[in-house]
Amino acid sequence: MEIAFNDPRYSDKAIVLTALHNVMDPELFVNIIDLGLVFNIEFKGERTIVITMTFSTRACPLSDSIKMGVRNVLSMAFPEYEVDIIVVWEPEWNFTMLTPEGRKLLGLDR
C-alpha cells in the first residue's frame, strides 16, 4: 500500500496508514498493512474515510475483530469522520502482497 506524493490528501492518508499499522491480525500478530490486506485509502466527501481491504482467507474467523480494529484506530485519529470498510476478494490475497517487513515478521526470509 503506497500513497502517491502528488495525492492532494497525502498527509491525511499518511496518518491513516500509520494508524492502520496498529491493527493486528491476532493469529499472525502482524499488522494489516505489512500483511498487505489494505488495498486503498480514500477520503470521500467531507467526512468519510473509505478503506478497501481483504483478509488472508475468506474463512477468517477474526474478520469482525480486524474490521473493528480499523474503525477503532481511525476513530481515534479522525474522530469526526465516518469509516466505511469495503471488503473485497479480488485480487485474492497471496503472500506476494506482504511487505518486506511483513515477510520478516513472519520469518519467511530466514
Binding site: 494508524a19 491493527v23 493486528m24 474467523p61 477474526l62 469482525d64 484506530v73 471488503v87 520469518g107
Partner: protein, 426 residues
C-alpha cells in the same frame, strides 16, 4: 473488485457448551477406559466397550464437532448461522441422550432407557441437520466444503437412526439379519460418512487457513467426495443385502483412494504454506493423519486374522488416535479465537490486549502432545501383545492427558478480559 458479505460468528452460548461438555466427556471416557482395561482384551461386543465407544463417538467427538461446525458454518457460507436456538437445543438433546445411552450400555439396560437415550441423540442429529441444511441453503456460493459438511450431517442422522434401530432390536428383536453385521454397518456409516466426511470438509478449510497455504488441486477434493461416498454406499448396500464378504476390500479401496486424494491436497497446502513453523496443534493433526493411515493398513488384518485384538486395535487408532488427536489439537486453534473475539473484538487497535494463544497454557499443550504419543503407543502395544499392565499404564497416561486438556479448556472458558498495560496506543 467485488464487495462481499461476511457471516457473523454465532453467540458463544451456541458454541461453548459443546466444548466444555466434550472436554468433560473426554475425561469420563478416559476413566471408563481405565476401569474397563481388561475388556480391551476380549470381543468388542460387550457392555463396557459399547459404552466406551459411544462416549468417545458421541460425548467426546460429536459434541466438540457440533460446536466447531456451528462456529465454522457461517465462515464457510459467508452467512449467519440459521438458528442459534436450534444449536442450543441440539446441545441439550445430545448431552442428555449420550449420558443416558452411555450409562445404559455400560450397565446393559436394554429397553426403555437405551431407546430413550438413542431417541434423544437422533433428535439432536435432526436439529443439527436442519441447521446445517438451512444455513447452506442460503449459502451464496458453491463450495466443496459445504458439500462435505452437508453430506456428513445426513450420514450422521442415518448412523444414529440405524443405531436406534439396533437399540430397539436388543430389547424387541425385529431385524432379520445378524445384529453384529448390522452393527458393523452402523459403525462404518458413522466413521466414514460422519467423521471422515466432516473432518475432510472442515480440514480443507482450516488447514489452509492456519498454515496460510494454498493449493490449486481442488479438483482432487471433488473426486475424494465421490470415492468416499461411493465406497461407503456400496459397502452398506452389499453388507445389508448379502452380508459381509471379501468384496468389502473393493469398497475399502474406493474409500482409501478418496482419503489419499484428500491427503494429497493437504500435502500440497503444506508444501505451499507461508507459515513455516508448525505449532503443536498442527502436529496433533499430522499425528492424527498417521493414525488414520495405520487404521487403513489394519483393515485387512481385521478381516483375515483371527482374534478380536485387530478390531480393538483398529477402533483404538480411529477413535483415540485419529479423531481424538485432531480434536486435541484443533480445540486450541478454534476455542481461544472464539473466546478472544468475545472479549477483545471491541478493544482491538485501542489498547494492548493478550493474543488468542495467550488464553491457554502453551506448555501444557506441549506436554499434552507428548503424553498423547506415549499413551497411544503403549495402548497399541498393550493390545497387540495382550499385556494388561501396559494397557493400564497407557490408560493412566490417558487420564493425565484428559486432565491436562480439560484444565486448559477451562482456563480458556474462564478467561477474564485483560488490558496488558492499560495504555491507549494513540
Amino acid at each position: 473488485m467485488a464487495s462481499i458479505n461476511i457471516g457473523n460468528a454465532p453467540k458463544n452460548s451456541a458454541v461453548l457448551p459443546f466444548y466444555g461438555t466434550g472436554a468433560l466427556y473426554f475425561l469420563i471416557l478416559s476413566f471408563m477406559l481405565f476401569f474397563a482395561a481388561p475388556d480391551l482384551l476380549f470381543h468388542y461386543f460387550n457392555p463396557h466397550i459399547l459404552g466406551i465407544v459411544h462416549a468417545a463417538a458421541l460425548g467426546w467427538a460429536t459434541m466438540i464437532i457440533f460446536g466447531a461446525a456451528y462456529q465454522l458454518l457461517p465462515v464457510i457460507c459467508e452467512q449467519d448461522l440459521y438458528s442459534e436456538r436450534l444449536s442450543f437445543l441440539s446441545y441439550c438433546f445430545l448431552a442428555i441422550g449420550v449420558t443416558i445411552l452411555v450409562i445404559s450400555f455400560w450397565n446393559f439396560f436394554t429397553g426403555f432407557w437405551m431407546i430413550l437415550g438413542g431417541s434423544c441423540v437422533v433428535i439432536a442429529a435432526m436439529l443439527y441437520l436442519i441447521n446445517v441444511w438451512k444455513t447452506t441453503l442460503i449459502c451464496r456460493q458453491y463450495s466443496i466444503q459445504k458439500i462435505f459438511v452437508l453430506s456428513s450431517a445426513i450420514w450422521l442422522l442415518f448412523t444414529v437412526s440405524l443405531g436406534l434401530m439396533l437399540a430397539i432390536n436388543l430389547a424387541f428383536p425385529f431385524i432379520k439379519g445378524n445384529h453384529l453385521d448390522i452393527l458393523k454397518l452402523h459403525a462404518h456409516a458413522g466413521l466414514v460418512g460422519w467423521f471422515l466426511g466432516l473432518i475432510t470438509g472442515v480440514s480443507i478449510k482450516l488447514v489452509p487457513m492456519f498454515l496460510l497455504g494454498k493449493s490449486k488441486k481442488e479438483r482432487l477434493l471433488r473426486w475424494s467426495f465421490v470415492l468416499q461416498n461411493a465406497g461407503l454406499i456400496l459397502f452398506l448396500l452389499d453388507g445389508f443385502f448379502f452380508g459381509t464378504s471379501i468384496r468389502f476390500l473393493l469398497y475399502a479401496s474406493l474409500i482409501l483412494s478418496g482419503i489419499i486424494l484428500w491427503l494429497i491436497f493437504l500435502y500440497d497446502v503444506f508444501k505451499n504454506r507461508i507459515k513455516k513453523a508448525v505449532d503443536f496443534s498442527m502436529r496433533h493433526t499430522f499425528a492424527a493423519m498417521l493414525c488414520l493411515a495405520i487404521s487403513c493398513v489394519l483393515v485387512p488384518f481385521v478381516y483375515f486374522f483371527s482374534g478380536t485384538k485387530w478390531a480393538i486395535l483398529y477402533g483404538t487408532f480411529l477413535f483415540l488416535g485419529w479423531i481424538s488427536s485432531i480434536i486435541l489439537g484443533m480445540t486450541f486453534k478454534t476455542l481461544p479465537f472464539i473466546v478472544w473475539n468475545d472479549h477483545y473484538k471491541k478493544l482491538n487497535g485501542k489498547v494492548r490486549v493478550p493474543l488468542p494463544k495467550q488464553l491457554y497454557n502453551e506448555k501444557w499443550l506441549h506436554y499434552q502432545f507428548f503424553i498423547f504419543i506415549v499413551a497411544l503407543l503403549f495402548l497399541a502395544l498393550g493390545i497387540l501383545m495382550m499385556r494388561l499392565l501396559w494397557i493400564r499404564i497407557a490408560l493412566l497416561c490417558w487420564i493425565m492427558l484428559a486432565v491436562m486438556y480439560l484444565a486448559n479448556v477451562i482456563k480458556v472458558l474462564n478467561h477474564k478480559t485483560k488490558i496488558l498495560d492499560g495504555n491507549s496506543i494513540q
